[in-house]
Amino acid sequence: MPQWDLANSDCVLVMGSNMAENHPIAFRFVLQAKARGATIIHADPRFTRTSAMADIYAPIRAGTDVAFLGGIIRHVLEHDLWFREWAIPYTNIATILGEDYRDAEDGDGLFSGWQEESRKYSPESWQYEGVTMPSALAESYVDTEGFCEATKRLHEGPPPRDPTLQHPRCVYQVMKRHFARYTPEMVERVTGCPREVFLKVCEALARNSGRERTTAICYAVGWNHHSTGVQIIRSGAILQALLGNVGRPGGGMLALRGHTSIQGSTDIPTLYDMLPGYLPQPHAFKPHSTLESYLDAETSPTGWWRNFPKYAVSLLRAWYGEAAAPENGWGFDWVPRIVGDHSQLPLTVAMRNRIIRGLFVMGQNPVVGSSNSLLVQRGLADLDWMVVRDFAETDTASFWRDGHLVRSGGMRPEDIRTEVFLMPAALSGEKAGSFTNTHRLLQWHDKVVPPPGDSRSEHWFVYHLGRRLKDLYAASEREEDRAIRALTWEYPVDDEGEPDAEAILQEINGYTWPDRTLLPDFEALKEDGSTACGCWIYSGVFPKPGENRSRARRPDGPEGPGTHLGWGFAWPSNRRTLNNRASADPEGRPWSERKRLVWWDEAKQEWASPDQIDFPKDKRPDYEPDWSRKPAGMDAISGRQPFIMIPDGVAGLFVPSGLKDGPLPAHYEPVESPVANPLYGQSISPAAKRWEHADNPVHGTGDPRWPHVLTTFRLTEHHSGGTPTRLVPTTAELQPEGFAEIPTELARALGIRSTDWVVISTPRGAIETRALVTDRLRPWRLDGRMVHQIALPWHFGWVGYATGDVANVLTAVVGDPNTGMHENKALTCALRPGRLRRAGGAGVAREAR
């Protein structure tokens, strides 16, 4: 949902986010909603400025979000408070599951399909009755023989449904049973949130959903950074789908992302597992050995993803140009295959294991920002070479001189053999280009001034590095060098050698091949090699020469509809609210005048809206697929199914495939937790990613040596790894030094006062910092004992005007099964007053275990 649409919400739940402090400008819209009478709720382990502005503050223990949200889902189902007319046609709540499914209720926390040897789930038993579902995103083939063949059944008819919801295996009945024990009493026991506060939250959400009203959820990495992160977000999405708060004005889920173009770098992924536009990176152990088998395995039989081959072939044409031909699968054979998880966490372990020997770091500061900083720093010392590109010396760039290994690890710079380059980088304002911000909005920034001295953009650096490498490989006849030789790399440059960013955006937008006429949008893409497109979802951003729509700066006036279609460009096709067909009822009428966004115009025979329609514009609401003809793609999606990217056109409350830790969210304790799971015998997520390494010890549940809960957070005045704020005088002056928030009761017990030095330790390492004793953190009574929670801002390091010890020295390389994201929002630690003993030569400072 667009951020400004929050002003249209009747209720906003902020959870997993301290929005007032970390996304203050977006929080203005929450406050505008509040001024119009909306109810604002904040659920969080810490009482923050967001809590202070909220009507209801619900305190919860870090890492118990699924229990809290699962409790709301149960309440809504149990008391029939969900939006029936919306959810029955628009979700899979009526769909009937196969007979093999066993819920976590029957497996004491394990769903059916768990394979103990490989520590993985097989999703075969999670399928609908008689129908195997591909996943919409990159996960459809799940190590299961015949899986993609089985999905072809989708051509024969829709999955079986029981709209009366009486069938014992329909999703409604399965969910009711799955969440039955998530009672207010259980919520209080697990999360610590008083039941009367919890019930107030349930009532506010239910009261502000339905035909006339909508509720929005805002979340940030306070949801992601758990070993159950994806299932926390799923819980929020299930709730919104039950309440009908998707695709409607003031309704939805707003992901408050952390970096300016983190959305853009996900869409055009500098990520290991995807190609641009959410196409899967080919995998050596999936049927991806040829383009033909890759397209066969990854193309969904029904829904929009039926167009997958057009996007894949057009990308290959953009990359390999003239060298791409049907004989070499349009160059598919040259695309590197992944063999497992190559994401951030295993990347740091692979450096330490000397698998990685050279490293580029561009605008990131992993010594401060990555989990288990001592492991990271040791890994950097194991590299042959590293190139750091940033606007100043970062903690990562100077690890060999000022890092923990040298300060307290007994190493000398002379012992560190890494060759390091530190290259000055241009900032926005000193280079032209586009960012994609939260809510998928592409916004261009101009080059206003030249970057200082030898500072260059990454356009410049990557372009000229590529040019040099193409020269070095020009004479090679080796098959393994064909890709670099074939890669299209002709971009116009200016007098300084800076490539034209608009020319790159035009390649991303797509053009015809070989005459390079810009394409109006992704509907023009073909799979026969006659179009080239660098990222299909961005197609339309540059439809004509001179028309860079990310540079559009025409906001709606005060009398305008407020969709601001003339400000920037939101992918796909400038649609501001995704799935907005759901803002009309199955017949195509707005659910209410108050929440009007999209409607069927019978006279014009098309959908109408002040937004762009996220649905085929002329598909009648009463269109039904003719199953006797085995329809494919969008032909198999009826006129009343708003979720066109999902193969069966409806929102998945229950997810048959695509998730690695279960088809429904279940509460698991964090991998490091002070208590065992009150809900299931399976205490932690069975599928959580673990990397065994001597430098990465992780302790078991309830270890008395690490009695306190530790959570991490961000400050208004600092940004992520800290480089762009610790080195800036104003922000450094506002937050000059690292600290830890310590609850008053614990501080009193240990004799700690504010500004005292304290030492915090985990099995990975120990840091010293100043205490900030506060009532913002409350103690929890869990299973008869008091548990305290300590909170650490994680921006600090040794570089800059504002310094402090590195919080990530304490955190572990442990991850969510689906995303590989770390669990830095919930772990456990020890605390004592005093300072670290840093004895030279005694190894990196560690507290006695």
């Binding site: 203005r28 300016t260 152990f285 590197p336 190559h342 900032l427 911000n437 490989y473 992520s720």
Partner: protein, 199 residues
């Protein structure tokens, strides 16, 4: 950019007070909200932005909210950064980080030369951009050639190197991310390509 008034003696300041004090002017009939309220110093002040010879649109480099900014520059150097009032996202406002963008661009800690650290060295040395680029290209080729794996023993194609990794992208432009993914993955066969999306 602010203009400090020169230091003056007591007599001069007393004279100025008598001259500038608002009350006599009000008694003479001047409007206390207009002429009578005007101080001598304000007559000499000019808007800072008047000195700009260029203004361009930008987007805040910090979080993902996407606040629009206006960058004012003179002689090729930034002199001011402020929120763009036209933006439906921020309507001219900026948070403490966004308001620090000018300080980011002009930080005294900013680097403008390429630095190189020889293995085992205890300090940086300055190198030219050209030398650094050539050296990096050479290292990339050497490491890639030493670690590239074309196929698995059973013939399954890999076409990759695990020997070189890349981190970063979330602070960079879409076009920069595109070139990184295209060259590193599509051209060189690197698979350890990651950004802050999981951090």
């Amino acid at each position: 950019m602010s203009r400090q008034p020169p230091r003056r003696g007591l007599a001069e300041r007393a004279a100025e007070f008598a001259r500038e004090w608002s009350v006599p002017r009000q008694l003479r009939g001047a409007d206390h909200r207009r002429e009578a309220a005007e101080a001598a110093i304000s007559r000499t002040l000019r808007p800072r932005l008047e000195e700009a010879d260029r203004v361009g649109t930008s987007i805040c480099p910090y979080c993902a909210v996407g606040c629009a900014q206006l960058i004012y520059a003179r002689d090729g150097r930034p002199i001011h950064v402020e929120g763009d009032p036209r933006s439906p996202v921020n309507q001219g406002t900026l948070c403490p980080k966004g308001a620090a963008t000018f300080g980011l661009m002009t930080s005294p800690m900013r680097l403008d030369r390429c630095l190189h650290r020889v293995p085992g060295a205890t300090a940086w040395r300055e190198v030219t951009l050209d030398w650094a680029m050539d050296r990096i290209a050479h290292l990339v080729r050497r490491t890639r050639d030493e670690t590239f794996v074309k196929d698995l023993p059973d013939g399954t194609p890999l076409n990759h190197t695990l020997g070189i990794a890349s981190m970063g992208g979330a602070t960079l432009d879409n076009e920069e991310n595109y070139l990184i993914k295209k060259l590193f993955s599509g051209g060189l066969g690197m698979v350890f390509v990651e950004n802050q999306a999981r951090v």
